[in-house]
């Protein structure tokens, strides 16, 4: 994995679709070039650690945190909706999620 991976404009278009960012077509090549350079510089991560090294996902040993299941003060519906771009009947109003035919 030490060789620099090749990233094409099509790859960036695919990643942008996964990440839900509408990158203009004429910018795909620009991001592809930069991504390739960055990936080339970080590819060395696979050279050091052998299979015997465990992965660390977090700096602390974490345990689940529990509390008693009691009602506590929280935001009102009005507060929770106060920053929403669109609201209807005390709910977030969103564009259609399913196609008409679905």
């Amino acid at each position: 994995m030490s060789e620099t991976p090749k990233i094409s404009a099509d790859d960036v278009a695919h990643l942008a679709k996964l990440a839900r960012i509408d990158i203009p077509v004429d910018r795909l090549g620009y991001y592809a070039e930069q991504l390739e350079v960055i990936l080339g510089s970080v590819a060395k991560v696979s050279e050091v650690a052998g299979d015997d090294v465990p992965a660390t996902s977090h700096p602390q040993p974490l345990t689940n945190v529990f509390r008693d299941d009691v009602v506590q003060p929280s935001l009102t519906a009005e507060q929770a909706l106060s920053g929403a771009p669109s609201v209807e009947d005390e709910r977030f109003r969103v564009p259609r999620i399913l196609d008409e035919e679905a």
Binding site: A16, S41, P59, R67, A80, F92
Partner: protein, 498 residues
Amino acid sequence: MNDLIHKDASELATLVRDGQASAVEVAQAHLDRITEVDERVHAFLHVDTAGALAAAAAVDAKRAAGEPLGPLAGVPLGLKDVMCMQGIPTTCGSKMLEGWRPPYDATVTARLKAAGIVILGKTNMDEFAMGSSTEHSAYGPTRNPWDLERIPGGSGGGSSAVLAAFEAPLSIGTDTGGSIRQPAAVTATVGVKPTYGAVSRYGLIALASSLDQAGPCARTVLDAALLHQVIAGYDPHDSTSLNEPVADMVAAAGTRDLTGMKIGVVKELGGAGYQAGVRQRFTEALEVLAGLGAEIVEVSCPHFDYALAAYYLILPSECSSNLAKFDGMRYGVRAGDDGESSVEQVMARTRAAGFGEEVTRRIILGTYALSAGYYDAYYGSAQKIRTLIQRDFDQAFQQVDVLVSPTAPTTAFKLGEKLDDPLAMYLNDIATIPANLAGTPGMSLPVGLAPEDNLPVGLQIMAPARKDERMYAVGGALEAALLQQWGAPILSHSKGLQ
């Protein structure tokens, strides 16, 4: 009473407590200073004049009623715009959250208010805390008060600039890869990244949750310690919050003798790629530390050479997931909702309109690193390096009490100099990133000006996890010895605003 702005936080708190100055006077002096200089510095994204004066008046009323005041009551502060403050615009430096007013306070914000600290406003930052120069703010860069053509560091450049421009004696920063420490280094101020979990992340808009840590910024080690005591401590709202007592940082900051202290110089941090003047001032500071009784030894942390690479896989991976919530549905801006388009199309348009270039770059990179076929080679390998870096720290701290290095490889660079070269920008954090990966604490404090450009140089002190007080002890002793040598605080040499 214009000299109020040049006083340290501890001095201001004493003046207010003793009735020699009112909290309102102190707040007004700083608000006037903001009016005078912030057009040039651009450290604030939002100034809450009415709120600050009301908070100050409340402190004065409390004093008049004979109620006890906390150690920082009546002292003004700049709050990084990554931290939620109820009813006050909180943008994270992004167009995505333009106009958003949080319906609640972050735990840090709530603790500041409860301590009687007067929040002047929200400070500028790189968008969603991604950057080392504040140039990635969607609202324009902050400028370094030492030289307005230069960067104040990042992502917390607003929080460092308010201190160096005497707009506030205290500020709050957040540090994911150096965003408190590097800005402190390039502005000759003090910045502390506490142990991971020491300060609650509740209401801190997340960049990379396993790396993010809020901390105190100030002009002196003592002031940083006082602020640390206010914001640190267990918070049930944050499942990663450390549930243990906070050590006495203020007492530690009073240390003046380092006899018996063993200080390790990290071999891997400070060689090639570090500016000559940075290395010179760092080496001189080591002599001062030795003069205070510390034993200085060289320590090797071989995997630190891989920290930057691991960080630029772990951070984009976590941020691509964390920033998925900014989709224009529940808060922030929404773009391209024409009544015809699907929710996915509107999300994609919203994110294209709301995110700047660096944020887009990192989300795409993270999406790649986490995608099928690449996960093990990139994200998996980076997590293993994280283990190796933790082991390096563990071994080093078996030999020494603290580690030191230059905080940043160079002094403040010019605006625009590295904007088109992401890799060059990322190198700024090469010495600060290991502590984030391991969850250990780090402090930066000024150790002089580089002879070649007369710009500030910072020294970093790193301690074992949950031993933050050691940094305050070493930092407090070093600061006092340097002040004696210099005769005046280093910021008195700053000419950028004259």
